[in-house]
Symmetry: C2
Subunit: 332 residues, 2 copies
Amino acid sequence: MPAQDSWQAPEAVVSHGRCPDGLVSYLKETDDFRIVVHVFPDGDAIGSALALSLGLRAMGKRATVYTKDDIPQMFGYLPSVEDFRGITLIAETDTADATLIVVDCNSPQRAGLSEVRFKKTIVIDHHVTETDFGDIRWVKPDYPATGLMVYFLLKDLGVNITTEIATNIYTALCIDTGTFRFSNTTAETLQVAADLVNAGVNPSAVANYIYNTWSEARFLLLKNVLNSVEIHNKLAMTFITEAMLRETGARSEDSDNFVNFPIMIESVSVSALFKEIGPDKWKVSLRCQGDVDVSLIAREFGGGGHRNAAGFRITGSLVSIKQRLILSFSGG
Amino acid sequence: MPAQDSWQAPEAVVSHGRCPDGLVSYLKETDDFRIVVHVFPDGDAIGSALALSLGLRAMGKRATVYTKDDIPQMFGYLPSVEDFRGITLIAETDTADATLIVVDCNSPQRAGLSEVRFKKTIVIDHHVTETDFGDIRWVKPDYPATGLMVYFLLKDLGVNITTEIATNIYTALCIDTGTFRFSNTTAETLQVAADLVNAGVNPSAVANYIYNTWSEARFLLLKNVLNSVEIHNKLAMTFITEAMLRETGARSEDSDNFVNFPIMIESVSVSALFKEIGPDKWKVSLRCQGDVDVSLIAREFGGGGHRNAAGFRITGSLVSIKQRLILSFSGG
């Protein structure tokens, strides 16, 4: 990777639009882009990368999208999703004159990209920065989704927002805001969503793809997980064993979001989902609503995370781990 | 009720805003309003009525809200919800000079209101009209929610959209569009939602009130209902027995929306929820996704409804009813 050049932090640059002038002018005058998403890409990463590549291509540029891990099947409806290539294929192309754009993450490592040389590197991300990677960095943790940043960028670039671009961005917004239910939902998010629907997005079709395309195995796994619930005052614990995965035929990633179900209960403020990852080995995901800070609980167990979403890995007997968690929670 | 007067259908009236001129000018020049919602009021009815009453009161008018049935506890957060009075109390007031406004339904019968005389009657509703009741009728089935109509009406009346009014309207929109997931979600809906957030609505707080305030009993009932699932090709059947309600302590209305859970499964196109309402008596709710028309199935069993949501009541042994339904579905 090239060393950081003298390019100034974009936040300090005067922008006529939402985006740093330096980024907009660089994209305008450059022709060859390799866009990468983070490992285990989610809808924000995938939709943002596709929208950006479609926009740059509409400007007559070369823009290809790469991923280390498979695109989840549920995103098969995204326009141009078939363009994604395996990230190892980057090394097989001539990158010396190409620009790398890292989307929805802020380092090549998070994208699963090993040493490759590029002319320039760009970061577009709404996550708190872990590194100072990137010749041009546009990092905005106050944006609910990278998709929103890409929207403003394409507008500043003068790109016409086609239905294909709009569907990708709308999906990115939906995934990262829980379709406008999470606390990161702003008036601006809803305003842009309205613009995207005007551009041709079918909001209920997108919602159906996101929320109503469970496999039967996933549904059976949810049933088993809900059956496992143990409620101790404001703490709800649920469990996924390897046997449950075998019995239902579900994959481990099918349990995505299950930790949020017990949070629906008004009297529950913390939900802990235990996932068996080996003999006496557990991955515990924590979610909360209200004033609890689950990152504090996670840290007690050697883990970490955010106020509302945290987790840890632990080895030991389930009975004793549960006891420790109940004690930790009631003491907290 | 007064007879229909010579007032013209509002749809035929030129409107400078979204709303019929006749309605706007009448509300401006009139002072005393009684606003009623339909029986078993939902969030659209409740939020619309409260927003309208707050707006009219901000204009210096008298506007009181009435309901036949209790306001569901989950709507306790709505600003001024405590203003609702029992509908029988209308008769105890002097209504001869008052105007009745029927909100989110289109007849006094649907509001549970028996014979009372008013100076004028107004209907504001987005449902297909069943009757021609109302001296002034503003009925717009193409609007996703009555709340959206009330929003445009208040704007045309020059009312400042306070946070209190906005929270009521935002809730109305969320309830009737599944927080922007249903097929009635339009760009305009999202645009208005953005305006309401700008007016002070906290979108995640509203979503939490709507979706995350389940009782533990309701959660346990869901668990039992999911356990009861039987999947036959594209048909998923679930069951709520009286014993389940007793065991979990849940109320019958706690099963609202449960029929939609099996629809999450991609391979399931019809979900049928059987609710035991007496010995060998069942109320069956049907939902579908895709091209199936469940109203046809419901009609075969003497019921009715819409293409995507229908139902019927039936007496008989569960085994034989299930068999008939499976046959009916595979034949359809």
